[in-house]
């Protein structure tokens, strides 16, 4: 039974890093450049982890813009939509990993992520409205060789161990500086 997740490597890493917390410190990086209007291009390749510089196999490029109804050119998805990408990808990876660890074969895993957003916040139209999402809803449709309760447990456990779920549900210190 394999979902293609190397769970043994993850379990080995967990054991190894228990005694080496400094190696567990990662820094993820993105470099962004303004293009024109509200269009920007962000590139990701290098990161730091396991005590040294690391690199993805290749550079990934993300275009961000706003839709035409925002009077923009729509050269890419809206920045806040990237949060949905991150959440869906993180929870899905979690479902696959937990399933692998529990010996559950996955046939298909699909999800729809919806973020409810009152844009009066970012427009400054109402100071009582926050800028970010008011509610985020993820709906999974999973076909697996498991009972409904086991599938629910996969989804629950994936949230419990999700970096993006944590980053969205809990406050994080953010420092923005001008270099």
């Amino acid at each position: 039974m394999s979902n293609g997740v190397n769970v043994q490597a993850l379990l080995d890493a967990r054991e190894a890093l228990k005694g080496a917390p400094e190696a567990a410190q990662f820094t993820w990086r993105a470099s962004s450049k303004w293009q024109h209007g509200v269009h920007s291009t962000t590139k990701i390749q290098k990161f730091f982890g396991l005590g040294q510089e690391q690199s993805h196999k290749s550079e990934a490029v993300f275009e961000a813009d706003h839709p035409e109804i925002f009077a923009a050119e729509d050269n890419g998805v809206t920045p806040i939509e990237y949060l949905l990408v991150g959440l869906a990808a993180c929870l899905t990876a979690g479902v696959a990993s937990v399933a692998q660890n529990r010996g559950i074969k996955l046939n298909s895993v699909e999800s729809v992520v919806e973020g409810d957003h009152d844009i009066r916040g970012i427009l400054g139209a109402d100071s009582d409205v926050r800028n970010g999402f008011n509610d985020v809803k993820v709906t999974f449709t999973i076909d697996a060789d498991a009972s409904p309760a086991e599938i629910e447990a996969l989804v629950a456990q994936s949230q419990k161990r999700s970096a993006v779920f944590d980053a969205l549900t809990n406050p994080t210190n953010v420092t923005v500086e001008v270099a």
Binding site: K160, T169, N170, P171
Partner: protein, 394 residues
């Protein structure tokens, strides 16, 4: 003074150790900083009762003999039980151990009444010596209370109360504070849900008979996690889960993640911690049904999570008068001058065997799941004293 075995603490664990040491004719002394059952007398709130029914609340040499085996002992009754089990125990009360260090013959204990030399030591000083309080910047004007300082709701200031933590302590205090007329906001992280009664039997009857409580520490998938598990949402006599509290008018919020600019910020993950607890509870009930060989009984209603729980609570608005930190307890080993405590403050031991004649008793899931409860001490103490005898013979 020299003894073969020094036992530190005359609570249920130290007294149980003494019982088996006496049976094995091992010369020993039980050192107690206060009096027998000191923590039960002084470090508990007024309404607290044991989570185990009386028929389960047995110690070596003292079982419940009263008229209500299905009742739950209050602290006076627990003290009585411990005193009965202490009647033949060589306890020296009022002796505070301030240091334990290795010596050529075993250990040297520094106490208020002079040094004590011992070949072996049993640490039975308790699992709940100090309340754990996260370090947050609480605005002045909001009173803060731990379960060690809390006695009853009337001592809290008027106004709303933020109870942080939804283990047995948190849900019990939330319920009685809400009933006192102070509106409670309960911050719930990961928790363990249990109904008081399942299919007409106390849930701990099921834990006891089905074998769940007998699971050994060295057979568990994740022992570290089992030992860190919050105490179950239980109270004497009736179910007290998050649904009960919601029905009483308690407001549920997520885990407290920060206090920033005078506002408490709660995790948006409340729904998932509730789902995890519901799933885990149903798996436990499945285990009971499997053991009983019967069709599944009725499942408790899933936890009702507010559609959008508040994630921000202004602590400067006057809504909240006090915070009750029901965020757990930890043992205190500051007096233990032997390098057997890990960087998180936990004693390093294998089923209570620390090594070199040093032992521990009375810690969660020490040798079995039952170890966390009063009734788990008898088997653990027997095992530990067996090991200790072999060490002495060794």
């Amino acid at each position: 003074m020299y003894v073969t075995t020094a036992v530190i603490g005359a609570g249920h664990a130290g007294l149980a150790a003494s019982c088996f040491l006496t049976a094995a004719s091992v010369d020993h002394v039980v050192l107690e900083r206060g009096e027998v059952a000191n923590s039960w007398r002084r470090e508990r709130w007024d309404s607290l009762r044991l989570l185990t029914p009386n028929w389960l609340s047995r110690l070596p040499g003292a079982a419940y003999e009263g008229p209500d085996p299905d009742g739950y002992a209050d602290m006076g009754e627990v003290v009585d039980l411990l005193e009965r089990s202490a009647k033949d125990v060589p306890v020296r009360t009022g002796v505070n151990v301030t240091s334990v260090r290795r010596s050529s013959e075993g250990y040297t204990l520094t106490t208020g009444e002079g040094p004590i030399r011992a070949r072996t030591v049993v640490i039975a000083s308790g699992a709940c010596n100090r309340p754990v309080v996260p370090s947050f910047d609480v605005p002045p004007g909001v009173e803060q209370v731990t379960p060690f300082g809390y006695r009853n709701p009337s001592r809290l200031p008027d106004g709303g109360v933020l109870v942080v933590g939804a283990s047995a302590t948190g849900v019990q205090l939330a319920a009685e504070i809400q009933q006192s007329g102070r509106p409670v906001v309960l911050s719930a992280g990961e928790h363990v849900r249990m109904p008081r009664v399942y299919r007409d039997r106390d849930v701990l009857w099921w834990m006891h008979h089905s074998g769940v409580w007998s699971q050994r520490y060295d057979e568990l998938d994740d022992l570290t996690r089992a030992r860190r598990l919050p105490s179950p949402q239980l109270v004497a006599g009736s179910t007290l889960d998050l649904n009960t509290l919601t029905s009483m008018g308690v407001e549920l919020v997520g885990r407290l993640s920060a206090i920033r600019d005078g506002a408490a910020l709660f995790s948006g993950g409340l729904r998932n911690v509730a789902a995890l607890a519901d799933l885990k509870l149903n798996r436990l009930l499945d285990t009971f049904d499997e053991w009983a060989g019967t069709a599944p009984g009725e499942r408790p209603e899933p936890t009702r999570v507010p559609k959008s729980a508040r994630w921000r609570l202004d602590l400067r608005s006057g809504e909240i008068g006090s915070i009750v930190w029901a965020t757990g307890y930890r043992p205190d080993y500051s007096w233990l001058d032997v390098p057997v405590v890990d960087e998180k403050g936990s004693l390093i031991h294998d089923g209570g065997v620390v090594g070199d004649g040093l032992y521990a008793l009375g810690l969660p899931v020490l040798r079995r799941r039952r170890s966390t409860f009063l009734c788990g001490i008898e088997d653990d103490a027997r095992d530990i004293v067996d090991h200790l005898r072999l060490h002495l013979a060794g």
